[in-house]
Symmetry: C2
Subunit: 196 residues, 2 copies
């Protein structure tokens, strides 16, 4: 059994219970369950409320599944193939502010998309799923395959599914199948002075 | 009274209850309460578990408060001055991967910092606080004032406090003191094809 994370501080367990597992059980996921995850992302904050995030997804059991999986690097495809859905997250770089006619780069598109995916990942955990965000994909191939127009940036891939038996993972991955650690608070937060 | 947001989908109320209020009640916030918020941010996922987020903060009632407020643009300072804490969020751009000696740009520092701040904002809401993320600040002045070294990017400012009486806001802001709307799901999520 995986040991749950502990925290000495008063935070909601939702932040401790979410972690990026790789063992999935090959169940299919309904359109409706996935849309609940996007709905959580939908309510994320963003600069100028521009909501720059865009999601394109494939579900296990649909014709999109295999072609989407093929866009991951082999290392990630090996475990992601047992998941239930694969999402590519994009950000729209430009934005037309209210009352303006010209689109401008807000400079916050990646940051805001990260926030939206964080909401998605938490809702996944609350829905009994895992949303494992990965950076290992063939970005150029994804942009080409999906005919992504200029003005959008591929931000991440998100592997979604139900936790499976870790013993079915390749041995090298079994050793990594536990919640990751984090640096202590004083290493990333400080009062009044920048001391990092 | 502010009308709560509604959702037709099955998501946790935490995503609907969080919104970016501007009316604050001028209470002070303890170091411990703030650290609970950073603790939530701490558990956010990041590429290579690099945890690129860095936070520097000032609390009302400390010598840091006024100098930090002065780094906001006047429009935001007008309402943020009634809050309890002000945080500047930075990202570290480079990262030394395990087993490597040279630091590389992961390309995910902004995205990951957005995720961490999203966790922080949710925990704030769960703690009965508001964490209002803003982009209106004098970035060059902040970097200079805090002597931020090269290799770090200022991502956002976060105004934290307890909700106050909206009627005390300037009239122009009173009209904006309600939870923002969002675009419908089909405008940012699609199965199999990029159609945005």
């Amino acid at each position: 059994m995986t040991q749950p994370r502990q925290s000495e501080r008063k935070i909601s367990p939702i932040f401790l219970e979410r972690w990026s597992a790789r063992a999935f059980d090959e169940t299919e996921v309904s359109e409706s369950v996935l849309q609940d995850l996007f709905e959580a992302a939908r309510w994320a904050p963003s600069a100028y409320n521009a909501q720059p995030w865009r999601f394109v997804y494939a579900r296990r059991g649909t014709p999109y599944w295999k072609p989407f999986l093929d866009l991951l690097i082999p290392y990630n495809r090996d475990w992601a193939q047992h998941a239930s859905a694969l999402v590519f997250a994009f950000s729209e770089r430009k934005f037309v502010a209210p009352g303006k006619t010209e689109a401008i780069e807000t400079g916050f598109a990646s940051y805001d998309t990260g926030a939206a995916v964080a909401f998605l990942a938490l809702q996944a955990s609350l829905s009994g799923l895992v949303a494992h965000i990965i950076a290992g994909f063939d970005g150029a191939a994804i942009v080409k395959k999906l005919e992504v127009p200029e003005g959008f940036k591929l931000e991440s891939a998100i592997v979604i599914g139900r936790k499976g038996n870790p013993e079915k993972l390749p041995e090298a991955l079994q050793a990594r199948e536990f919640p990751g650690e984090r640096r202590p608070l004083p290493e990333f937060s400080a009062e009044g002075v920048f001391r990092f």
